[in-house]
Amino acid sequence: MPGHDTARDVYRQALPVILVSLVAGLFSGTILGSETMRAGISEVPGLLLLLPAFLATRGGVYGSLGARLSTGLHQGLIEPRFRLDRRLTNAILASFINGMTVSVFIAVITFLWLRLFGNAGNLLELVGIMVVAGFLSAVLMISVLIAVIFVGYRRGLDPDNVIGPVVTTLGDVFGIFFLLVGIYVVGAVL
């Protein structure tokens, strides 16, 4: 009965989700601890400063897209297939705009923060890295979310139970990986 579980019940129910996020955390931690990334951290001022904000907003943007799609499916407002439906395209475009805007915003406040405390920072470099990382995460997160939610829904899975772990796992792992790609691309261009 809900609300009357013992500590052991709660532990057993929560452990799988926690373990998924643990494995994801270790994956992203390994990318973060890799030699290339550590070199990037030393070379680009502000990278560690923007890291938590970048990771947290992935969850905010794509978690809410997932929640919206899932509510839409439950209400029968959208159908679980890929079709140029107005609501579906609106939701997707809006999350893309949100993701990109916030990525640029993070780059700018990071730069201002660095300046405020008298550190050197390169605005163009930070914005470039965030645009590349933000764009790649948007493309990946939106496609995977739609695929998982629609396929899951058609097979009888409640999307509400799936979105959380999917967004945290993919958001963290690929967020840090795309950050690395961004550093590489911007380093090659600038």
Binding site: L48, A53, V61, R68, R87, N90, F105
Partner: protein, 197 residues
């Protein structure tokens, strides 16, 4: 862009709910505020840059610490909220449901941060770090258990406050508490790092 939306008349109301401008306008202020809050964690990370770059094991701990704090908080909050709605919630040390939640959070934290300590040490060594197993495990477990205390206190406080003030905890408290615990996770981790390492 939403002005060009068309559909059946009964559809209009829903289309508005799903208009791009509306979604963007509601989300952007929230996301911007969230980013500024997370700069606090970022500042801490930046302060420890040198320690982090020389000890990859500690860098491995960072995403795990951020993720697990928020997860534990969201599980505790949503369980307490459900009990609130079911009428079984009561702020008292003898409340069996509250005890079960608290016990589970500590057991989960012990399991996760024990495993994380060993894994982060192994990965750190593979990445060329020199920090010993004892130290990484100590950092991971001590910061993990402190985090569990914080998660329990913050979740109970949030649910209690939203109950008294009459806010819906699902809408307001949970996002706030999970984000605060994310930030606090990093603060606790580095408080422990500065003592141990």
């Amino acid at each position: 862009m939403s002005s060009t939306d068309s559909g059946g008349d009964g559809d209009r109301e829903y289309v508005d709910e799903w208009s791009i401008r509306r979604i963007v306008r509601t989300m952007i202020p929230l996301l911007a505020a969230l980013s500024v809050l997370q700069l606090v964690s970022g500042t801490v990370l930046e302060t420890f840059e040198e320690t982090l770059v020389t000890n990859p094991a500690l860098l491995v701990l960072v995403p795990v610490q951020i993720g697990t704090a928020g997860n534990l908080a969201s599980i505790t909050c949503s369980r307490l909220t459900t009990q609130l709605y079911l009428g079984t919630y009561e702020l008292s040390p003898s409340n069996p449901d509250l005890r079960a939640n608290v016990g589970a959070v500590f057991a989960l934290a012990g399991t996760v941060f024990g495993a994380v300590g060993v894994a982060a040490w192994g990965i750190g060594v593979a990445l060329g770090g020199t920090l010993g197993l004892g130290r990484v495990l100590l950092v991971s477990l001590v910061s993990g258990m402190l985090l569990a205390v914080l998660v329990v206190v913050a979740s109970v406080a949030a649910v209690e406050i939203s109950y008294r003030v009459g806010l819906n905890p699902d809408d307001t408290t949970i996002p706030v508490v999970t984000n605060l615990c994310d930030v606090a996770g990093v603060l606790i981790l580095f408080a422990v790092v500065s003592v141990v390492v």
